[in-house]
C-alpha cells in the first residue's frame, strides 16, 4: 500500500482509468497545461496528451455539452467544473439534459459522463466558492452522486463512476485535498451505492459525508471518552443510496444523527431522516437529529465560517446532548 494525498488520488484514479480505456477523455478549465487549479490533474497532460486532456474556454455549458455529446456517441468523458458552486451556470445541461436523456429517449441514448467538481467549505473563499451542493444534484432524477472522504475511495469510486454508464457527479472536497491515506497498489475499483461503517458502535449511528466523516470520527472518539459508543457511517454515495447499511445500523443503535455540510433545507440528511423515521419508526428510541450548516450563505471570515460548518465540537455536543 502506498500513501497518497486525496489530491493526488484524483489524478491517480483518473490515470488508472485512462490507461485502461483508450477512449476516455477529459476536459475542463486549466486542467491540462496547469494541472488543475487544485493540482488534482497534474501529470495527465504529459501522460495522455492534449487530445485526451483538454483545456477549455470559461464556458461551463459548452464543457458539459461537449461531454454529453461525446458520451452519447461513444466516448466516455470526465468533465471538470472547477468549483461546485459553478454547477449553477451549467445546471440546465446537468439537470435537464444529461439526467433526462436516457429516460426521454426510452434508452436510445446513454450518457457516460463523470462531472468532477471541488465542493465544500473551510477555505475562507466566501459564499460563492464554498458551498456544499450535493443536494443540488441528489434531487435530480437521472444523476448519480458520489462524495468520497478518503484517498482510497477517491480512486475506487472514481473508477466506479467512470465505468458507470450513467452521468455521475463526483464531489471532491476542497478541505480534504491535503489529507493523506493508504491506497491499494493494484488496480482499485469500488462500487457506487455502498456506504461504509468507519467505526462500529452500539449507542447511536452517525451518518456523515465527505469532510464531515473525519469530523464525525473525531467526535465519536470524544464521545467514547464520555461512555457513548457511536457507530460512524461514511455515506459515500448519495445516489444510489445505501439505505440498508443505514437502516441496519439504526436497527442496532436505535438512534440516528446525520451530519451535513450543506445548508439545512432539503439536504441529503432530510432524505435519510425521512426514510429512517418512516421505515425504522419502531426501531427508533428517539428522534433522528440533523446536524447541518445553518440555512445561511457561507461567510468568508475564518471565525465565522468555522462557526457555520458542523465542527467536531458541535457534533459531539449535539449527540451527547440528545442521548444524555
Amino acid at each position: 500500500m502506498a500513501e497518497l494525498s486525496y489530491r493526488d488520488a484524483v489524478a491517480a484514479g483518473i490515470a488508472q482509468e485512462m490507461r485502461r480505456d483508450p477512449r476516455l477523455v477529459m476536459l475542463g478549465e486549466d486542467i491540462a497545461g496547469a494541472g488543475g487549479v487544485f493540482k488534482t490533474t497534474v501529470g495527465l497532460l504529459d501522460e495522455f496528451g492534449a487530445d485526451r486532456v483538454r483545456d477549455t474556454p470559461i464556458s461551463e455549458q459548452a464543457i458539459l455539452g461537449a461531454a454529453m455529446g461525446a458520451a452519447m456517441t461513444g466516448i466516455p468523458v470526465i468533465a471538470e467544473i472547477m468549483f461546485s458552486d459553478f454547477l449553477a451556470v451549467c445546471f440546465d445541461l446537468l439537470a435537464n439534459e444529461m439526467a433526462k436523456a436516457s429516460y426521454m429517449t426510452a434508452g436510445q441514448v446513454t450518457v457516460p459522463v463523470v462531472v468532477r467538481t471541488a465542493n465544500g467549505g473551510g477555505s475562507r473563499f466566501g459564499a460563492q466558492h464554498s458551498q456544499s451542493v450535493e443536494n443540488w444534484t441528489m434531487m435530480i432524477p437521472g444523476l448519480k452522486v458520489v462524495a468520497p472522504s478518503t484517498p482510497a475511495d477517491v480512486i475506487g469510486l472514481m473508477a466506479a463512476a467512470i465505468r458507470d454508464p450513467d452521468p455521475v457527479v463526483f464531489f471532491e472536497h476542497k478541505s480534504l485535498f491535503a489529507v493523506k491515506g493508504e491506497v491499494p497498489d493494484a488496480e482499485h475499483v469500488d462500487r457506487l451505492g455502498t456506504a461504509v461503517v468507519r467505526r462500529p458502535g452500539t449507542d447511536c449511528t452517525i451518518a456523515a459525508l465527505a469532510l464531515m466523516v473525519p469530523r464525525a470520527l473525531e467526535a465519536a472518539e470524544r464521545l467514547a471518552a464520555d461512555g457513548i459508543d457511536a457507530e460512524v457511517i461514511d455515506v459515500r454515495s448519495l445516489v444510489p443510496l445505501d439505505t440498508s447499511t443505514i437502516l441496519g445500523s439504526v436497527a442496532k443503535t436505535g438512534r440516528l444523527f446525520t451530519v451535513e455540510e450543506n445548508p439545512r433545507l432539503c439536504g441529503w440528511g432530510a432524505e435519510v431522516a425521512s426514510i429512517v423515521a418512516d421505515e425504522a419508526f419502531w426501531d427508533l428510541d428517539g428522534p433522528v437529529v440533523r446536524i447541518t450548516t445553518p440555512h445561511v450563505p457561507l461567510p468568508a471570515a475564518e471565525a465565522l465560517e468555522d462557526l457555520a460548518i458542523p465542527s467536531v465540537d458541535r457534533i459531539a455536543a449535539t449527540v451527547a446532548g440528545s442521548l444524555g
Partner: protein, 360 residues
C-alpha cells in the same frame, strides 16, 4: 429579405403593430441552373412532401384532440430540413429543437413511429416517454430534439468532437431558431466549436419570430446568426431558407468543409412558419400582408415549379405526392391502432441498465 436596421432600436421598443412587415425576397431562378442531380432534386421534393403532408395530418389530429401536450410544426419551413438532410451522410448527426418533426422525418425515421409518439402510444418512437418535443432516432443519426433553448448547440459540439476523436469524418448538424441566438449557450457553443475546429454545422432557421415576439425587437443586429459569425472567426452565410436547392448547395459546401477538417460553419436560413408557434397559437400577432407574402413564397409549390422548369414531368411529381399521401394515411392508422404505453414504462430507462432504483 431586406436587411434594414431592426425597427426595435430607434422607433419605440415594443409596438408590434407599428412594425413594417418583413417581406421575403423573390426566389432566385438562377438556381434552376445549379448542378444538382435529378435524383437529388426528386429526393428533396419527396422529403418536402413528406414533411408537409405529415405535419398537416398531425395538425388535424391535434384539432381532433388526439394529440395531447404541445407540438411545434415546421409547415412552411420544410426546405431547410429537406435541403440539409439531402446533403448529409447516413452516419452524420442531427440535433434539433422541440420543432423537430421535420428533421426527424427528413433523416428517415418512420412516419408511424413519429405519429404514434405524438399520440402517446407504445409504438411511438420513444414509447410515449418523450413526446413531440423530444423526437430521437439514434439509428437514423437523429440524436435528439431538445426543448430548452440553447443546450443542444453545446451537445452537438460533443458529437462532433467525438467524431474527431474516433477519427471518423462524421459531421454534426445542429438546427435552432432565430430567438436561440440570444441565449448564452449559443455563444459558448460557437466559440468552442471554432477554437477546436469541430466538424459541426450550426443552422439558424430564422423564421423571424420567437414564440410570439418578432426577433428584431430583441436582437441587436438585423441578422441574428449571420451578423455574428465574425465574432467566432467564421464566414457570414445568409441563405434563402425557402428554396431547397439553395439550402442543399450551402449544406453540401459547409458539410464538406467540416468533413474535410475545415471546421465549423454558422448558416442563417431565412424562412417563415405558416402557422403559429405551437399548437395553441393562431399566430395573429403577424401583419396580414407579411403572412400573405410568405405564403406566396411557400417553398413547396415553388420547388414544384422549379422541377417543371428543369424538365421533370408533372406526372412524376404527382405520383410522389400521392405515394406520400398514402404513406401518411397508413402511418396514421398504424399510430392510432397503437396501445397506450405499459404502466411499467414510468419506471424504465432512468438508468442505462433500464432501471430506476436510487436505493438498495
Amino acid at each position: 429579405m431586406s436587411t434594414e436596421a431592426p425597427p426595435g432600436r430607434d422607433e419605440g421598443l415594443f409596438d408590434y403593430a407599428a412594425r413594417p412587415p418583413r417581406l421575403p425576397d423573390p426566389i432566385d431562378d438562377r438556381l434552376d441552373e445549379a448542378e444538382i442531380p435529378r435524383e437529388v432534386r426528386l429526393g428533396l421534393y419527396r422529403t418536402q412532401q413528406v414533411l408537409r403532408q405529415f405535419e398537416k395530418r398531425a395538425y388535424d389530429l391535434f384539432m381532433q384532440n388526439l394529440v395531447k401536450g404541445t407540438s411545434h410544426l415546421s409547415l412552411g419551413m420544410e426546405a431547410v430540413a429537406a435541403g440539409f438532410a439531402g446533403a448529409m451522410r447516413p452516419d452524420d448527426y442531427t440535433f434539433a429543437t422541440y420543432r423537430g418533426h421535420a428533421h426527424t422525418l427528413a433523416r428517415g425515421a418512420a412516419m408511424e413511429a413519429v405519429m404514434a409518439e405524438l399520440l402517446g402510444k407504445e409504438n411511438g418512437l420513444l414509447g410515449g416517454k418523450g413526446g413531440s418535443m423530444h423526437l430521437t432516432s439514434v439509428e437514423h443519426g437523429m440524436m435528439g430534439s431538445y426543448a430548452i433553448i440553447g443546450a443542444h448547440l453545446c451537445i452537438a459540439n460533443g458529437a462532433a468532437w467525438s467524431a474527431q476523436m474516433r477519427g471518423t469524418d462524421q459531421v454534426a448538424v445542429c438546427f435552432f431558431g432565430d430567438g436561440t441566438t440570444n441565449i448564452g449557450a449559443f455563444h459558448e457553443a460557437l466559440n468552442m466549436a471554432a477554437v477546436w475546429e469541430l466538424p459541426v454545422v450550426f443552422v439558424c432557421e430564422n423564421n423571424l419570430y420567437m414564440e410570439y415576439t418578432p426577433i428584431d425587437l430583441t436582437t441587436s443586429v438585423p441578422h441574428p446568426a449571420a451578423d455574428r459569425a465574425a465574432a467566432y472567426g467564421l464566414e457570414r452565410i445568409l441563405i434563402d431558407g425557402n428554396d431547397a436547392d439553395a439550402v442543399y448547395l450551402t449544406a453540401s459546401r459547409v458539410i464538406q468543409r467540416a468533413r474535410s477538417g475545415g471546421g465549423p460553419s454558422l448558416v442563417e436560413a431565412v424562412t417563415y412558419r405558416h402557422g403559429g408557434h405551437s399548437r395553441a397559437d393562431p399566430g395573429k400577432y403577424r401583419p396580414a400582408d407579411e403572412v400573405e407574402a410568405w405564403l406566396e413564397r411557400d417553398p413547396i409549390p415553388a420547388y414544384h415549379r422549379r422541377m417543371l422548369r428543369v424538365g421533370v414531368d408533372e406526372g412524376e411529381l404527382v405520383e410522389i405526392s400521392r405515394d406520400v399521401a398514402q404513406a401518411v394515411d397508413e402511418a396514421t392508422e398504424a399510430a392510432k391502432a397503437g396501445v397506450p404505453p405499459h404502466p411499467d414504462a414510468v419506471y424504465a430507462d432512468v438508468w442505462a441498465d433500464g432501471g430506476w432504483e436510487w436505493r438498495n
